[in-house]
């Protein structure tokens, strides 16, 4: 896979390349065959192979089915009771880097914070990316995302 050096800002990018070169050199000195032999030996000595299915028995399947029914029921009740108070984010989390300035503002508001960059964001007609946000703003955004997940 390609590394993402080109998306790093000037200064960090050059330093990262130098650091990477060093990490590559150090990793190349690791003896892969010795590591493989060591891992296999430790697995042989210290532990039985894990089994994906050892725990699956009729009793555990019945218990799992009961848990699924309970959790699904609780989720339905929770959704029904929270429907009125839920704060909905205006966009999907997966598209966060492509939010427009207006959408980002809506996220700040949803997180209960007033964006300190409201004026500067409003002054630009171009879309705002995460690169433009301060650390404090990133913290607010992360908190709002965590809230949306929970």
């Amino acid at each position: 896979m390609d590394r993402m050096n080109d998306e790093l800002p000037p200064g960090v990018g050059e330093a990262w390349k130098a650091l990477e070169a060093r990490a590559d050199q150090r990793a190349a000195r690791v003896d892969v065959e010795r590591v493989a032999a060591g891992v296999v030996e430790r697995l042989r000595r210290e532990g039985a192979r894990p089994s994906r299915f050892r725990w699956i028995t009729p009793a555990t399947l019945r218990a799992a089915a009961a848990v699924v029914v309970l959790v699904a029921g609780a989720a339905v009740v929770r959704m029904a009771t929270r429907a009125h108070e839920a704060v909905r984010l205006p966009v999907g989390i997966s598209a966060i880097d492509s939010l427009s300035s207006g959408q980002l503002e809506a996220v700040w508001e949803a997180a209960g914070e007033v964006s300190p960059v409201a004026d500067s964001v409003a002054a630009t007609s171009a879309g705002t990316s995460l690169d433009d946000l301060s650390e404090a703003q990133l913290e607010v955004l992360l908190a709002s995302l965590n809230g949306a997940e929970g």
Binding site: L8, Q25, V30, V39, L43, P50
Partner: protein, 181 residues
């Protein structure tokens, strides 16, 4: 006439073969991923003398936990996440004896001594900065900058949302930029 394509087992096949009792499949998985894992661990600031041991420890823990691997991310990403956990346990010791003195082999290709000194200094500062990042910021940064992983893959490996992975990455970059400025 073309050369017939060699059949190369994917990670999933090797995992299944190991779980079925084929020990050589574990060795093959190690050969496939150990160098990338060692690079990841090295970039975290692990000292030279612990690098091979940490790589082996991470792989051993991964094989012991293989029954819990659900395929939400690739085996490589899952392995890096386990590496992050192993590193967490050693990090306190490293903080006590500030590790990885970057050696003069970090050089500017131009050969200019001034540029070499500058490259060495900024790389050292960056290494310090990476060590000071919050754990998730550091892991997301290294998974993306070093391993080239997409946010969806990183999110799957670390058990966070894709949006959170993006924010952690941008946070890390901002802090590193400020640190080496």
């Amino acid at each position: 006439m073309g050369v017939p394509a060699l059949s190369v087992a994917d990670d999933g096949d090797l995992i299944a073969r190991y779980l079925a009792g084929e020990e050589s499949a574990a060795a093959e998985l190690v050969r496939r991923h150990a160098t990338a894992l060692a690079r990841f661990i090295a970039a975290h600031g692990a000292p030279d003398e612990e690098l091979e041991d940490l790589t082996q420890e991470t792989l051993f823990k991964a094989f012991r936990a293989l029954g819990t691997f659900r395929g939400g991310a690739s085996f490589r990403t899952w392995l890096l996440a386990i590496g992050g956990n192993v590193l967490k346990d050693r990090r306190r010791r490293w903080r006590r004896n500030q590790v990885v003195a970057l050696t003069p082999d970090i050089r500017d290709p131009s050969g200019d001594p001034g540029a070499q000194a500058e490259a060495g200094w900024t790389a050292e500062r960056l290494q310090e900065g990476i060590a000071k990042l919050a754990r998730l910021q550091r892991e997301v940064f290294l998974m993306r900058a070093q391993q080239g992983l997409g946010y969806d893959e990183i999110a799957g490996g670390l058990g966070i949302s894709e949006g959170a992975a993006r924010v952690h990455y941008h946070h890390a970059v901002k802090r590193l930029k400020a640190w080496i400025a």
